[in-house]
């Protein structure tokens, strides 16, 4: 079964970019346009990896991450924070909340592919 990857970003071009980057047939890709949608999809689709934006209207990426990590019933996906907020403090905030990786926008799609592969490796 192919690993499922959830992309959550309120910006359509970004979602499209992530999809284009990862959509090489190895992964199932689902998209969420905001935090609420992301939580719902995490519950329903049980993605293996979540690529999560931080600055979104409504629930931020950090909110989503915190809720996921706080909810033991959920299968815990690996989370890649993909954000324009690239300060060191943001990086620390992400780590504190249980993010596995942190990528700053703009990002290299190839680096994202590599990151996702690394996160999936132990399961493979």
């Amino acid at each position: 079964m192919r690993p499922t990857i959830l992309v959550c970003d309120n910006e359509a071009p970004l979602r499209e970019l992530v999809r284009a980057t990862l959509d090489d047939g190895r992964f199932d890709i689902v998209e969420a346009r905001d935090g609420e949608e992301a939580l719902e999809l995490i519950r329903r689709e049980r993605p293996d990896v979540v690529v999560l934006d931080v600055m979104m209207p409504g629930k931020t990426g950090f909110d989503v991450l915190a809720e996921v990590r706080a909810n033991a019933e959920l299968a815990q996906p690996a989370v890649v924070m993909l954000t324009a907020r690239a300060q060191l403090t943001d990086r620390h905030a992400a780590e504190d909340r249980g993010a596995d990786r942190f990528l700053a926008k703009p990002f290299s799609p190839l680096a994202l592919v590599q990151t996702v592969e690394e996160l999936l490796e132990p399961r493979a």
């Binding site: 910006e11 071009p13 499209e16 970019l17 284009a20 905001d34 409504g58 799609p109």
Partner: protein, 944 residues
């Protein structure tokens, strides 16, 4: 603070002399008893000395008189004892011519003359005074009668022994003498005195008495003078009298002759002398003892001078002390005054400080606090009003956002006297932030005076920092997001070389995101410039209706899902503004309306004119704006946050920019909205006659001319003259313009392209009361001067004409040809003077009494020149200049600064930077002012 006010304040007269007066009073009060004491003591002492001296003199005089009396009485007694010798009596009782008798007498005389020293002669006289015999023998005088002598008369008068007055003997060369005489009597019978048979006399040389006197005088160290009972000098310790000297004129002698004794200071030929005088008992002589008064009272004057010296020394020391005291008091008062003055200055400086300052002593008592600190303590910190300062400060901990940190930082301050540090804290309840600085304060010797606290409220700064960092984060995010797409897709293109259709899609996205990024950057920079008022609008008159039509068409073309309706008549609606910017505003409102409306939504655009404003509204029936977000929609990067809007995108700057643009045009952008019912955004724009290119405010001239070349030529002429020119090719267009705003003058061609010709237009203008007064200059190639005048034309020009002729024709027709001058001056008389000076027929003068009024007047209609006072209420001249500089429309208005103020170098530089002309109030003439204004206005119109 100016030097003047730092000078020492002059003390009031009363206070200045208070110290002196007090010290002088103390001096008087203490010197007076001192003087009295000195006087009394010297008086007492001198009285004692005088008494002592006087009593010594009295004693001397008395003793001398006694001794003298005893000596002479003793002599008289001796003579008396001889006179009682029976043999002598017998010798005289018998016949003295008997040999034996004479011999016997001689025997007694010889014996008597040797009985005592001093007796230098003895003789016997008969009871009638005839000399019987004398020793030493002097035969020449024997038998002579001496009854005239005092001794004779004395013996007869007293009947007993007698000491005579001094007298000169008749014998040549004999000295002055006194005689002691005694009667020689026969034996007494039955109680009867015996018969006088003779008189025995012993003569004593005055030399003898003199010697005796000198001895006494020497012993007593005084001068003695002795007189006989007549008052003739018999002896003097000075010198032996060589002849009889009458001393009765001497008051001392006179008094003693009268039997009195006494003492006193007398003026004598020898000067003032202390003298005692006394009568000698029994013999009736007088004795005067004297010493020089100054010698007698030498002790007194010595004593007095000693007392005086001591008193003077004491007085001197006292005065010195008082002077020192005075100085000390004065110095202290001055020091007090100085200290008070310094304290006042310090307090004033402290109170003028925005930061709160408090100095507390080591016990926690406030030594100094300024008003800012008082106010902070009351309003910001809400400090408890009692208790040690450390406790009061610590009590705030629970109200701060970080009680632990606050407590730790504050405890550290009080734990270490040398602690110096800064600490920032925020109140949880009010959200206000405070910056605290504290350090110990020591005196010059290093002794701890206390601790200084400086508080500054930094709420605004923190807020600004927060906003700034938020903005930076947001901008960063907004820039990175499209960049991420661009770079990401670019990388995919490079790395993966996708098939053509995928590549096209990638490129499309890259293009779209790059455009979005460009827009974002442009909008952001525009907004920044707008906010900083560095934005140049190119204002022109345009048809707002046309603009709306264009925009609506564009958006209708883009979004086929929405219905966009424009409610506007075809009539042109002329507004003044920057067309492109207004188009941007409309586009933004339209795109928002579409974005926030569901497919099939309906957007209505309407415009209406009210008074001098046109209002454009864009209404949608979309999702609306939640009430809690309505306050923020003009914030940068704010996007209405709702699950329906997550896809909407955009820069988040559109509304902020739109509002800035509208406000820069003098309008307002507002909205009404309700969730689910849609939003309506409206903005206003001033309607006006604002012509192409520039915002001159010269008189407005309408040129009605169908020949475009001629029209533009005239327009150019007139513009050069400083007129604001509008052209119309037809009478119809011209009348429309005139109806909108009547011009100051109309240049009217007679042959026009429209239905109406110039004559008809002229008639219309003159018929309409609103335009009847507008002067019309007929410009024609044809004839009709008389007809034109009859119809009310003001002047008639025959084509072709030169610029000079045109100018000449217009002169005098337009009021305020020279321009409008705004006089800004707060003092009524000065303003009147300036206005009178400028109020010629060429100039229209307006007035403003303060800076705000001036700016309001400028805002209404920018004048051609401003006469500006610098010292103005509300807003001073410098601020007015600054505001004028800040706006494109007012920047070039020439300003003549009129000031009485002494300008600092800095101010001069400032004024030079504003390129103003300067006139000093008390040094300019009316001509100077007119000249400057003329020059200033000259700048408005190019030289011909």
């Amino acid at each position: 603070v100016s030097r003047r006010s730092l000078r020492r304040p002059r003390l009031p007269r009363g206070e200045r002399f208070g110290v002196t007066r007090t010290v002088v009073l103390i001096g008087l009060v203490s010197l007076l008893p001192l003087a009295l004491l000195a006087y009394a003591s010297s008086r007492l002492a001198s009285d004692a000395v005088r008494e002592e001296t006087e009593s010594r003199m009295v004693a001397t005089a008395t003793i001398t008189s006694r001794l003298m009396a005893e000596e002479l009485s003793g002599l008289a007694a001796l003579v008396d004892s001889y006179a009682n010798r029976p043999t002598l009596v017998a010798a005289l009782g018998g016949d003295t011519r008997e040999i034996g008798g004479a011999t016997r007498i001689r025997y007694h005389l010889d014996e008597l003359v040797n009985a005592r020293p001093g007796i230098y002669t003895t003789f016997v006289a008969r009871p009638d005074g005839t000399l019987i015999d004398i020793v030493p023998a002097t035969p020449s005088i024997r038998g002579k009668n001496f009854s005239f002598r005092d001794w004779y008369r004395g013996v007869l008068a007293t009947g007993g022994p007698y000491v005579s007055e001094a007298y000169e003997t008749q014998a040549a060369g004999t000295p002055l003498v006194v005689a002691a005489a005694a009667p020689i009597r026969e034996r007494r019978v039955a109680g009867q005195r015996g018969k006088l048979v003779g008189i025995l006399v012993a003569g004593v040389s005055l030399d003898h008495i003199q010697g005796f006197t000198e001895d006494l005088a020497g012993a007593q160290d005084v001068k003695l003078k002795i007189t006989d009972q007549r008052g003739f000098l018999v002896a003097s310790s000075d010198a032996t009298p060589t002849r009889l000297i009458d001393r009765r004129g001497d008051p001392r002698v006179a008094a003693a002759l009268r039997g009195r004794s006494g003492v006193g200071v007398f003026d004598t030929t020898d000067g003032r002398r202390l003298s005692a005088y006394a009568p000698a008992p029994a013999i009736g002589w007088t004795v005067t003892a004297s010493v020089p008064a100054n010698a007698a009272f030498a002790a007194v004057s010595d004593l007095r001078s000693t007392v005086l010296l001591i008193a003077s020394l004491v007085a001197l020391v006292l005065c010195g002390g008082l002077i020192l005291l005075h100085r000390a008091l004065h110095a202290r008062r001055e020091a007090d005054d100085e200290a008070r003055r310094q304290a006042t200055i310090t307090q004033a400086v402290l109170d003028a400080t925005v930061d709160g300052l408090r100095l507390v002593d080591p016990e926690g008592n406030t030594l100094v606090a300024n008003t800012a600190m008082d106010a902070m303590g009351r309003d910001l910190l809400k400090l408890p009003s009692h208790g040690p300062i450390s406790e009061r400060i610590l009590a705030l901990a629970d109200r701060t956002t970080d009680p632990e940190g606050y407590r730790a930082a504050t405890t550290a301050v009080f734990a270490d006297p040398d602690h110096e540090g800064r600490y920032d804290y925020e109140f949880a309840d009010t959200g206000r932030c405070v910056h605290r600085y504290t350090r110990p304060v020591r005196d010059t010797e290093g002794g701890l005076i206390g601790r200084l606290f400086v508080l500054r409220e930094v709420t605004a700064e923190r807020e600004a920092e927060r906003l700034k960092s938020d903005l930076v984060a947001t901008v960063s995010h907004e820039l990175r997001t499209p960049l991420a797409s661009i770079l990401g897709f670019a990388e995919l293109l490079v790395e993966r070389d996708p098939p053509p259709e995928t590549r096209a899609r990638y490129l499309q996205t890259i293009h779209g995101e790059a455009r979005r990024l460009t827009t974002l950057i442009n909008d952001f920079l525009d907004l920044q410039r707008m906010e900083e008022a560095r934005f140049n609008l190119s204002i022109a008159t345009f048809d707002l209706g046309e603009l709306l039509r264009e925009q609506v068409e564009t958006y209708a073309g883009q979004s086929r899902e929405h219905t966009i309706e424009l409610h506007h008549s075809e009539e042109p609606l002329r507004v003044a503004g920057d067309r492109d910017r207004i188009a941007q505003v409309v586009a933004n409102l339209l795109s928002n309306a579409i974005k926030y409306s569901p497919a099939g939504g309906r957007v209505e655009v309407a415009v209406r004119q009210e008074d001098r404003f046109a209002t454009v509204s864009v209404k949608d029936d979309g999702i609306g704006i939640p009430r809690d977000q309505q306050g923020r929609i003009f914030e940068k990067f704010f996007r209405v946050d709702s699950s329906d809007t997550r896809e909407i995108g955009g820069t988040g700057l559109g509304l902020a920019l739109a509002r800035e643009i509208v406000q820069a045009h003098g309008g307002e952008l507002s909205f009404e909205s309700a969730v689910g019912r849609g939003s309506k955004f409206s903005f206003t724009l001033p309607v006006g006659r604002q012509r192409e290119g520039r915002l001159t405010s010269g008189p407005y001239v309408l040129v009605v001319e169908d020949d475009a070349v001629a029209a533009s030529l005239m327009a150019e002429y007139l513009a050069e003259e400083g007129y604001d020119v509008e052209t119309a090719a037809t009478a119809e267009a011209a009348l429309e313009i005139v109806a909108e705003e009547p011009p100051a003058l109309v240049c009217l061609d007679m042959t026009l392209g429209g239905e109406l010709d110039g004559w008809q237009m002229l008639a219309r203008l003159k018929e309409d009361p609103a335009t009847a007064d507008v002067p019309v200059v007929v410009c024609t190639a044809g004839n009709g001067r008389k007809q034109a005048a009859a119809l009310g034309a003001a002047n008639f020009l025959t084509k072709p004409f030169s610029a000079a002729r045109l100018r000449a024709a217009l002169r005098g027709l337009i009021p305020y040809e020279g321009g409008r001058v705004l006089v800004v001056e707060d003092e009524e008389p000065v303003r009147r003077l300036v206005v009178e000076t400028l109020a010629t027929e060429e100039l229209h003068v307006e007035e403003a009494a303060d800076g705000e009024e001036a700016l309001a007047a400028v805002g209404m209609r920018p004048p051609d020149a401003i006469v500006l006072d610098l010292m103005l209420p509300k807003l001073d001249g410098f601020s007015v200049l600054e505001r004028l500089q800040a706006h494109e429309e007012t920047r070039r208005i020439p300003v003549v600064v009129l000031t009485a103020k002494q300008l600092s170098a800095e101010e001069r530089v400032l004024l030079r930077a504003h390129a103003v002309s300067l006139l000093e109030k008390n040094a300019y003439t009316a001509r100077d002012l007119r000249e400057l204004i003329r020059q200033a206005l000259g700048r408005m119109s190019a030289p011909v």
